[in-house]
């Protein structure tokens, strides 16, 4: 009951943020909040395979980037009035681009997952990294879509009845999608499917003995996770109005992982907390000194070595509640 009230209060504050930002004159607050929500979604998607499923993917930025590039490429073709692969016209309608981004990143996740899940452990970490790097270099070499420089999306995707070019409106769109996403994820983790995924993490052989085809379940979880990251990437391009190969760089995968671990592996709220902590810390430290990575590195070390379970464990300990 307590947590519901907490969630409701948080939601009200988040919804009122554009007004708060305007009143206090902190216009950067809005873009920071949008980025936190979006990265939170990407990190939560990663957390679904990593925390619940025990599959340590070091290549999730690939799906994030693919989702972003779907928006970018569709914009590019709409802008130049050309056809993608000779038959797909471009579009700037968000109702089309977001589902397209989800589907395409899901398809990539299906291919990458099907191959990668044949391995495990360290090899799984490295092979997912390998696939992400391949996609990174592929997009770097695609001169049509800006190569290294990426695509500048001059106009944010449109929604019927809403003016998405207004930053506040775009923020509310992101917030609404995040809430829906979080609710969906919560349902998913509590469903029988989510339970099986957790069971596979704990003991794959036992699950197999129960007659559960582990590989198929893991693959399906991987695809869902890729779709979530793709959705986040598509929104990110809409907010930043820019898609570039940097979205799939391996350091981005690392950042997503840091958010998950910082927030708390295998928890629903953890990745969002982690994203908020990391991004706020980054912007605060960066405003103090250009040498902020030094402090960031030390903080990461202290967090990893000194705590177990990330910020979520801290929150649970402070509120004295059970998980």
């Amino acid at each position: 009951m307590n947590r519901r009230i907490l969630a409701a209060v948080l939601l009200v504050i988040l919804a009122a943020l554009p007004f708060i930002a305007q009143a206090t004159g902190q216009s950067a607050l809005l873009s920071l909040a949008s980025r936190i929500l979006i990265y939170g979604m990407a990190a939560a998607s990663l957390n679904f395979v990593l925390g619940y499923g025990g599959m340590v993917s070091f290549g999730h930025a690939a799906f994030f980037g693919i989702g972003g590039y779907v928006v970018g490429v569709l914009y590019h073709h709409a802008d130049t009035e050309t056809l993608f692969w000779g038959f797909i016209p471009g579009t700037t309608q968000m109702l089309i681009t977001l589902p397209a981004a989800i589907l395409v990143s899901g398809a990539f996740a299906a291919i990458i997952g099907a191959l990668s899940l044949r391995t495990g452990g360290v090899q799984f970490i490295m092979i997912t990294l390998a696939f992400a790097q391949m996609l990174f270099f592929l997009f770097v070499s695609l001169k049509t879509y800006g190569g290294e420089d990426g695509i500048i999306v001059r106009r944010t995707n449109e929604l019927p009845f809403l003016n998405t070019r207004d930053r506040a409106v775009m923020y509310w769109v992101v917030l609404a999608i995040t809430v829906a996403f979080a609710l969906g994820l919560r349902r998913l983790t509590k469903s029988s499917f989510g339970t099986v995924i957790s069971g596979i993490r704990q003991n794959e052989r036992r699950m197999a003995a129960l007659g559960i085809p582990a590989y198929r379940y893991k693959l399906f979880a991987f695809i869902l996770s890729g779709m979530g990251a793709g959705l986040a990437g598509a929104l990110m391009v809409n907010v930043l109005r820019f898609a570039s190969p940097d979205m799939m760089h391996w350091t981005k995968s690392g950042e997503l992982m840091i958010m998950v671990i910082l927030g708390g592996v295998g928890t629903l709220v953890g990745p969002f907390l982690g994203a908020a902590a990391l991004l706020s810390l980054e912007s605060v430290l960066a405003s103090w000194s250009e040498h902020w990575p030094l402090a960031m590195g030390l903080i990461l070390l202290v967090v990893v070595l000194g705590t177990k379970g990330g910020l979520m464990a801290l929150v649970t300990r402070l509120t004295g509640g059970r998980k």
Binding site: V122, L129, A130, Q133, S141, L142, I258, L300, L301
Partner: protein, 304 residues
């Protein structure tokens, strides 16, 4: 033909560098079970320390011991302060902690020496070129790197296969718990292995100085390729690191040298170049994916 041979030697030189880094990494990985992303930082520290010493004293050869000692010392401190606490943790914590180390080291170097890249003077002995075959003069310094790499490989082979420490290392990469259960001071072994890995990384970094620029981020550039070498070769296997390192070095260099030219025959210039560079950068990752699909543990995995 001459161009081909020249690129082959370039590939060999790159492969040897990869081997020097991968040898340490694969041991740390295989014996201690730690994913050490900060291995590239040790490479960078070796390069900076050695290059600074060489610049101050004006002697390339004085840079060598300084690079080795600096990298090994940093390695030992890192092992004692950070890595030692990570043995029992899962890979996630190790990745995060060593990622923090990368940030820390990179920024410290920027604070101390700035972002400007540094270049080492070639040693006088190896500043010229040698005619490998008639019509192909080749920088003798690169031949020197190849020779050093091969010597280190031979030395490691002898240590691993002919000494008591080597026996423990081999045993450790096959079955860690059993070695511990037999009463071996595993902690000392870990420290030794980590120090050795750091030493080799420092050597590689210093040797790379005159060929590449000594700059912040040089470690991360080569780190991923090194991990690919480790995984393809099989975690914990020096032999695997050697075979995979040399092959990847040669394949990567060959792709970069010849693929754009081949593509240019079917496409127009700039696009072929861009695509060629892209595909050749993908090459080693593609190879790793293929190897892992056929042999999920790598080519020469220990204990499989």
């Amino acid at each position: 033909m001459i161009l081909f041979l020249e690129q082959l030697l370039n590939g060999l030189q790159y492969g040897v560098m990869l081997f020097l880094l991968a040898a340490g990494l694969t041991l740390i990985f295989g014996i201690m079970g730690v994913i050490n992303l900060a291995h590239g930082s040790l490479y960078m520290i070796g390069a900076y320390a050695g290059t600074l010493a060489a610049m101050q004293t004006g002697s390339f050869w004085l840079g060598v011991p300084v690079a080795l000692i600096a990298a090994a010392l940093t390695g030992l401190v890192v092992e004692a302060v950070v890595i030692r606490r990570l043995y029992a943790r899962d890979h996630l914590d190790q990745v995060l902690a060593t990622f923090g180390l990368i940030l820390f080291f990179n920024q410290s170097i920027i604070l101390l020496f700035g972002r400007q890249p540094m270049f080492t003077q070639l040693p006088e002995l190896f500043s010229g070129a040698v005619e490998v075959i008639p019509g192909l003069p080749y920088p003798s310094y690169r031949l020197f790197i190849i020779a050093v790499g091969l010597l280190v490989a031979l030395g490691l082979y002898l240590i691993i296969n002919r000494t008591r420490i080597g026996m423990l290392v081999r045993a450790g990469s096959t079955n860690r718990e059993m070695v511990r259960a037999l009463g071996v001071d595993i902690r000392l072994l870990y420290t030794l292995v980590f120090g050795l890995g750091a030493l080799l990384a420092g050597l590689a970094g210093f040797l790379a100085g005159p060929v590449l620029a000594v700059q912040v981020g040089m470690g991360e550039q080569i780190l991923l390729s090194t991990f690919v070498v480790v995984v393809i070769g099989g975690v914990g296997s020096i032999k695997g690191a050697f075979v995979a390192g040399i092959s990847l070095g040669v394949i990567d260099t060959m792709l970069r040298a010849f693929l754009p030219g081949l593509l240019r025959q079917v496409m127009n210039g700039p696009e072929a170049d861009a695509l060629g560079v892209g595909i050749s950068s993908m090459g080693i990752y593609l190879l790793m994916a293929l190897v892992l699909l056929v042999r999920p543990k790598g080519l020469f995995a220990a204990g499989s």
